[in-house]
């Protein structure tokens, strides 16, 4: 599903983001990428959604080499990868429903398709009753669930969640992780970037640890080791 072959990313003048990373994530896996701040976790997430390009090496997603992806192809890639960030990136003047629908609107989906898919996505994240609320009228955890619903509308094969619980309390964190597990059970590959020790340890899934841009540990049922 996702393959990094000897991927290096450096930022000018010579700051190393990732160094010679080799990685293979199989379809349907739930993988946690852990490490301290500034070790290259977010760089890896950005490389996955082609927000950054590797300086060296090859990134292949579903057989598609995105190492030198053309700008016009990036939207197609991003429709196949749902993205969830720490800062919720919801539009404050749109309702929950409109925020989720926006992702389909801007990609040219028909009104009928939007009316069909958005309620389904909201049901998956348990927000069908709050569709008419504005982001300021719901909790942080619920806002993050809206973001997840928005990431789901394109029925992505991969979900990349970069510190999705960074701004949440423990209760909301648990809810979000449970939701990601549920999505994973439907067959979606989940790449969770986090430095939350408790989350990683309770997941009992594959853990890849990054330190100073390099993979220092890759365990099938791992724990937070740094």
């Amino acid at each position: 599903m996702i393959r990094f072959k000897n991927v290096t990313k450096t930022y000018p003048p010579d700051v190393v983001g990732l160094k010679s990373v080799n990685l293979h994530i199989k379809p349907g896996e739930f993988v946690s990428i852990v490490g301290q701040s500034g070790t290259g976790k977010t760089t890896l997430a950005k490389l996955l959604i082609a927000e950054e390009r590797p300086t060296k090496g090859q990134i292949v997603i579903g057989g598609w080499d995105i190492s030198s992806i053309r700008p016009s192809e990036i939207p197609l890639l991003r429709r196949q990868i749902g993205v969830v960030f720490q800062d919720f990136k919801l539009l404050p003047k749109k309702t929950v429903y409109e925020n989720v629908a926006f992702a389909l609107e801007v990609c040219g989906a028909s009104g009928k398709k939007i009316k069909n898919i958005v309620p389904q996505a909201l049901k998956i994240v348990g927000l069908q009753d709050k569709a008419d609320r504005y982001p300021r009228q719901i909790s942080g955890g619920e806002q993050q669930r809206v973001v997840i619903a928005r990431a789901l509308v394109h029925r992505p094969k991969i979900i990349v969640a970069d510190e999705p619980t960074g701004n949440l309390d423990s209760l909301n964190t648990r809810e979000i992780i449970d939701l990601l597990k549920k999505i994973n059970e439907f067959g979606t590959t989940v790449v969770l970037v986090t430095h939350n020790r408790e989350v990683v340890n309770e997941l009992h899934r594959r853990v890849i640890t990054i330190d100073r841009g390099m993979i220092v540990s890759d365990q099938e049922e791992g724990k937070y080791v740094i």
Binding site: S72, P75, R78, R79, A103, V106, C107, A151
Partner: protein, 305 residues
């Protein structure tokens, strides 16, 4: 892009127009100023041309023949003159007509009229009023009249060189044109800067939406499209407002202009009506291209992929 996407691009453009309403008003106002200055330039150009035509049409040479010269000889001179390529028209005035014209012109001048009465008979001979094809032809016509066959028949030639006056009108018209052109260019440059900044502010206002659009896979065309549509909307609105202001203004000024020129032939509204598509189509094209070009620059700079 699909029809649905195109409609959404237009919808987003209108949303942006009204969300940044005062910014849109400022942008349209500057475009309006540019178009108004261009139209002033156009009107001045038209009126200047009409003024020159009016002056040129009034220029002629009056050749007064000696009273004893018979009409048949004058008619021969007329035919000879008409055969010259430089001559457009020659009008014959009989001695009686010449006297009548002279009396009409000088009817207020008692001394002249008294002298004329004392003479008793008609002191005037025939007159030929010659109009040249071009103002530059008069010296040649005058020299033709100096030929031995003609000069001994002629008592007097009445010709004031109009080139000085024409030169003055042309100089004033040219200065106004340069001023208008300068003003239009300055407004044009200000327009480019304003449009550029408006798009920049608009991109800044929408930075969150644009970021989300990118994340969820909106195409670049979809992200940039509303800005292009909005700039076309500005061009369209500014032209509409220009026309809405221009026609009442010309309607109001037309009688004064016609009185000034002393003729109904100076028809500015007629000029605009006759050249409507050409004049306003071209203006829309230029303003739209200018706005689109600036939008491309601004989105290229501030909406990098």
């Amino acid at each position: 892009m699909s029809l649905v996407s195109n409609l959404r691009v237009v919808k987003f453009a209108f949303q942006d127009f009204f969300r940044n309403f005062w910014l849109s008003v400022a942008t349209v106002s500057v475009l309006l100023l540019t178009l108004v200055s261009v139209n002033m330039l156009l009107a001045v150009n038209f009126l200047g041309q009409r003024a020159l035509d009016a002056v040129k049409s009034k220029i002629d040479v009056s050749v007064h023949f000696k009273p004893e010269v018979e009409e048949s000889r004058v008619q021969t001179v007329k035919i000879t003159l008409l055969s010259l390529p430089e001559v457009r028209d020659v009008e014959y005035e009989s001695p009686a007509q010449t006297l009548e014209n002279f009396s009409e012109i000088n009817k207020e001048d008692e001394l002249v009229m008294k002298s004329l009465g004392e003479v008793g008979t008609n002191p005037f001979g025939s007159t030929l009023v010659i109009k040249a094809r071009d103002i530059e032809n008069y010296p040649k016509i005058l020299s033709a009249l100096e030929a031995p066959g003609f000069s001994d028949l002629i008592e007097d030639k009445n010709f004031e060189d109009p080139r000085l006056m024409i030169g003055r009108i042309e100089s004033i018209a040219s200065k106004i044109q340069w001023f208008g052109l300068g003003a239009s260019l300055i407004f044009g440059l200000i327009t480019l800067l304003i449009v550029f900044n408006t798009i920049r502010v608009s991109i800044y206002t929408h930075r969150d939406e644009i970021r989300i659009m990118r994340l969820v896979g909106a195409s670049n065309g979809f992200i940039r499209g509303p800005f292009y549509v909005e700039s076309l909307l500005w061009a369209f609105l500014s032209l509409g407002l220009t026309m809405a202001m221009l026609y009442p203004a010309i309607n109001f000024l037309q009688p004064f202009i016609q009185r000034f020129f002393g003729t109904d032939n100076v028809d500015l509204i007629g000029f605009y009506n006759a050249n409507f598509i050409r004049v306003f189509g071209l203006q829309f094209l230029v303003v739209a291209l200018m706005s689109l070009f600036t939008t491309k620059m601004a989105t290229g700079r501030y909406l990098r992929d």
